[in-house]
Amino acid sequence: MTALAIETYGLRKRFGEKLAVADLSLTLKRGEVFGFLGPNGAGKTTSLKMLLGLIEPTAGSGTLLGRPIGDRVTRGRVGFLPEHFRFQDWLTGRELLRFHGKLYGLRGRALDGRADQLLARVDLLDAADRPIKGYSKGMTQRIGLAQALLNEPDIVFLDEPTSGLDPLGRLLVRDLIRELRDGGTSVFLNSHLLGEVEATCDRVVFVKQGRVVHELDMAVRTHGLEVELRVEGAPERLLAEHGMLLGHADGVVRLRVPDDEALPRLAEALVRSGAKLYGMTAHRKSLEETFLTVMGEDQRPG
């Protein structure tokens, strides 16, 4: 068993003229909760479908759980909640889980038990024997989640799992993702909802027009502050002593420092070195800001 859940090299997908995914190279460790973030039309769904073998890549290759993508047997260890998914809505929730469980090779009492357990987990026990046609959007999404977990997968792909869910539903998804991580399951989360990703992911990749434009390790990011200095004549060496230099242009220095205590120390050192300090602001950079910076101003709302 490899330590990587996903590894891809230059995956590309072209639909006629439209290049949906330009060049996707990424790795995902086992047990990692991975956020795939980008505006609508960035190519998130297409990327995920290539990994699942639903769409054949135009170019590139990759592995999923150590096997080439598209491998049938591997899909037995994968769960998937499609975006805007529709199911056989003439089935009841329980029947849906049973049929899909059979496609995973589950049978008999093991299957019934698993279905009941999941129905309880997504809080649908009392609606279990009603046709899905009559479910609300949130209930449909929840039965979809249950369906994605039938086989106790090693990796789960969730495509916009919280779109259309009320706050309680979102909380449920968040909890489920945490449970999955605790159980060692990898999660590949497609989203354009930043709060979701911020709350759950270990690592985030930003995609734009089919390209990865930025990668962020959430564990590192949550430590530290970003400081913006308007300063003249500051020696780089001194700045580097106090934190990680992020940028330096037009008299504005951006620096990441470990904590609040670093701020007065930095100011003092600067003044003592003879640099002219015109201003100093510090803040925790939210994912949303990173998103906007990374995506650039040219992004129209999707």
Binding site: V73, R75, P82, R86, Q88, E95, L103
Partner: protein, 278 residues
């Protein structure tokens, strides 16, 4: 194989749950009631009239039964086209296909499972309607046509040909395009079949060739003609007494051709579904 059977089961379940089976059955019963009423009056007329000889009576009853079977052939083909026409295209469009194809299931098993289910339903429909027609003929006219053992399987196989085609088309075409294609081919075979009949009676070779070409493009009408040929007494055939198959009996090669045709259609559909972006 298990996955294939699960898909077949799911498909049958869907047909039952969405009342497709009920609707089809009601249609079948309605047809049989009408046919029974018609048969009753015609048969009574035949038996009451002093005129016709016993032989002529048999001709008329055979004609009437074949007419019923011809309607059965038509209804079965309609069912064979309509039932599977949107199953793949519809599930691809709605996204249901994604949830199936992302499971550890071969895409060919999805197509074959559906094929199995729709063949079962359509052939069962055929058995009910044809059985009804034959039962009515027996009860009301005390008549059973000859050659049923050869004729009926051929008719059932027509349904399999159309299920294969209609299902396969759904892997590649939109529901509407697929429906137009299937009915277009049916229409072609229908017209071609009759042109051939007339051509044979009139001894017109060109018209016969039109029929041959039509039955190569869609062999079901030829299957029907062969089935009908078996299911009437030989004198009737020799005298060209019925519009159902004249002297032009399609060759047994046509049956093999139709089998190959169905298999190719199915392979075409499986290939299309395999390559399809879902």
């Amino acid at each position: 194989m298990r996955a294939l059977l699960t898909i077949a089961h799911l498909t049958l379940h869907e047909a039952a749950r969405r009342r497709i089976l009920t609707a089809t059955l009601i249609g079948a019963v309605a047809f049989l009631v009408l046919y029974g009423i018609g048969f009753h009056f015609v048969a009574r007329n035949i038996q009451q009239q002093a005129g016709p000889s016993a032989l002529q009576q048999r001709f008329l009853l055979n004609f009437l039964t074949l007419a019923g079977l011809y309607a059965t052939h038509f209804l079965t083909l309609m069912t064979a086209v309509l039932l599977p026409v949107d199953t793949l295209s519809g599930e691809i469009a709605s996204g249901v296909a994604q949830t199936l194809a992302s499971k550890p299931v071969r895409r060919s098993d999805i197509v074959l499972g559906k094929w199995l289910a729709f063949c079962t339903v359509t052939v069962a429909y055929f058995v009910v309607v044809a059985g009804g027609v034959l039962l009515l003929a027996r009860l009301l006219g005390h008549f059973t046509p000859p050659g049923l053992a050869q004729g009926l399987p051929l008719m059932a196989f027509e349904a399999v040909v159309f299920v294969s085609l209609s299902l396969a088309g759904g892997a590649r075409l939109s529901t509407v395009t697929n429906g137009i294609m299937a009915f277009g081919l049916y229409g072609l075979a229908f017209i071609g079949g009759w042109v051939e009949q007339v051509g044979t009676m009139a001894g017109n070779v060109a018209a016969q060739n039109v029929g041959t070409v039509a039955s190569l493009i869609m062999p079901t009408e030829a299957l029907w003609q062969r089935a009908a040929y078996y299911m009437q007494p030989s004198i009737m055939r020799d005298l060209n007494m019925t519009p159902f198959s004249a002297g032009s009996l399609p060759s047994p090669a046509m049956v093999w051709y139709a089998i190959g045709y169905a298999l190719l259609a199915l392979a075409w559909g499986i290939r299309g579904f395999r390559k399809r972006a879902l």
